[in-house]
């Protein structure tokens, strides 16, 4: 129990250091540039205490729970030696974590609004909802495929830069042909698919796989899954904008 309290205390200090820049920036602009006092100072202080404690708990829990879980699973799957099962899990993780992602839901709704405004789809709410749902499904499948491709890359030891550079070239070419209105939404969709809980888990999965399979280095092969997961949604939303 004492050790537990000690490690949480240490994480709290770390969290304070992590959050200090935000406090400094907000205070500086509020007091020096805008020259206004803080609204509801009591609320702000309670909120800040929550933020610090929450971040401390999150980081401590990450090291106790999510990292070991992801690695144990990756190592178990790698030892089992069934590529099909591993790839199936990769797809499920990518799809499952993305389809319900709140940031994606928001971006899909915005995309539908843009599409309706530009006259691609009808302006009715039903048509927009339908379009938003389709965008979400497209992106979730894209992320599922991205993780599958990323895991396959780790298994085979292919160099990552070929994939990413081809992806970039594809994005550039598609930008030329996609409707102008969808481009901004498509570019932003790459950033929204990786939530705070997915990232540690996927990272642990990649590193766990790369450290179990002989001949793979965790540094060279373990990272890169997130990069795949942020590139494919752009390609898919651009493609969807061209087709729909």
């Amino acid at each position: 129990m004492r050790r537990f309290a000690l490690s949480v205390g240490k994480q709290t200090l770390g969290a304070l250091r992590d959050l200090a820049p935000i406090f400094a920036v907000v205070a500086f602009f509020q007091i020096v540039v805008l020259q206004q006092p803080f609204p509801d100072i009591a609320d702000v202080i309670v909120g800040l205490v929550c933020v610090v404690l929450g971040l401390a708990l999150f980081v401590e829990g990450l090291e106790r729970g999510l990292f070991p879980l992801g690695e144990a699973l990756a190592q178990g799957m790698a030892r089992k030696g069934s590529t099909t099962a591993l790839l199936a899990m990769a797809f499920c993780l990518g799809f499952g974590t993305t389809v319900a992602e709140p940031a994606l839901i928001a971006v899909a709704a915005e995309a539908a609004e843009v599409a309706a405004d530009a006259g691609f789809i009808g302006g009715s709410q039903a048509a927009q909802n339908q379009y938003a749902l389709e965008v979400r499904a497209v992106v979730a499948v894209a992320v599922g495929l991205a993780i599958v491709l990323g895991v396959l890359r780790i298994l085979k030891g292919w160099p990552i830069h070929r994939f990413i550079i081809s992806g970039y070239v594809l994005v550039m070419v598609m930008t030329l042909f996609a409707p102008e209105e969808i481009v901004g939404v498509a570019y932003d969709s790459g950033g929204v698919t990786t939530s705070t809980i997915t990232v540690p888990l996927i990272t642990a999965l990649g590193v766990g796989l790369a450290s179990t399979i002989r001949g793979r280095s965790p540094m060279l092969d373990g990272f890169g899954l997130i990069a795949f997961a942020s590139l494919t949604p752009m390609i898919c939303v651009l493609g969807y904008g061209m087709v729909a």
């Binding site: 990450l62 070991p68 280095s217």
Partner: protein
């Protein structure tokens, strides 16, 4: 107090909904495919509960303290910035406070991003401490600061988004061939992790506020793109940092060697 408890419960439910699909998939594969129970199940359960509670606390604190301020500030700054110009034409220099705020808030929110902290910790552990977690986070944060600031400049000037992104991609491709191979996957990953819980809401509010207040810009068409800037620029800054660090290291060893010889 009661209201706070209600909001905490609501946020906790939200986080739970986020986590449930992941847990279901993990349990199905662990029990169904591997047919083995988890090692150290107690640690994993306590850890997961801590992650859930921590994230819920973190989010509710952000909503209570930082997001309202961030959004109000973004609105006030974008409203006041352009009003000093006498002519009706948009002059990009008038918005320097906005660029400064964008850089500062981009840097600060990235340093506090939990997903980035997780990846940085992992990278430090895996690389045997040759990658410093704090250094990586600073490099990424500098990238986001530059990206968001430039993204605001783009919204003010109304120049097309693809130009910037295509140039950024070309720079990343050139940098990739100049860097050591071991840093490349980590650098690519750092582009995706920067834009999570903390950065996205604040940066989106900034973009929409700016597009709504600059004459001639529409929030629907010009408000987007800041996230894209915030995801490409960290790749550049991490690769750039690695290239410079390696060149400096090589130069130092060469000088030491020369010193020994003479």
């Amino acid at each position: 107090m009661l209201e706070f408890a209600a909001r905490f419960g609501e946020t906790l439910l939200y986080t739970l909904r986020d986590v449930t699909p992941i847990v279901v998939i993990l349990v199905v594969f662990q029990l169904g495919v591997l047919r083995r129970s988890l090692p150290n199940i107690r640690g994993i359960v306590t850890g997961s509960v801590m992650v859930l509670l921590g994230l819920a606390l973190f989010l509710i604190g952000l909503e209570q303290a930082l997001f309202p301020i961030g959004e109000t500030m973004a609105r006030q700054l974008t409203e006041t910035a352009g009003s000093s110009s006498l002519t009706s034409a948009v002059r990009w220099e008038d918005y320097w406070v906005v660029y400064l705020f964008a850089a500062a808030i981009g840097f600060a929110t990235t340093v506090a991003e939990p997903a980035l902290i997780a990846v940085a910790l992992k990278a430090e552990e895996v690389s045997g401490r040759t990658v410093n977690a704090w250094g990586l986070r600073i490099a990424v944060a500098v990238g986001v600061a530059a990206g968001v600031s430039l993204g605001c400049f783009r919204i003010v000037t109304g120049t097309p988004l693809p130009w910037y992104i295509v140039v950024a991609y070309v720079v990343v491709i050139v940098q990739t061939f100049l860097s050591r191979r071991t840093i490349v996957p980590l650098a690519y990953d750092s582009g995706g992790v920067t834009t999570s819980t903390v950065t996205v809401p604040v940066v989106t509010a900034l973009g929409l506020g700016l597009a709504a207040n600059v004459p001639g810009r529409s929030p629907l068409l010009d408000g987007f793109g800041l996230i894209a800037f915030a995801s490409v620029f960290p790749i550049m800054s991490v690769l750039g940092y690695a290239i410079v660090a390696e060149r400096v290291g090589r130069w130092r060893t060469r000088r030491e060697r020369q010193g020994v010889e003479s």
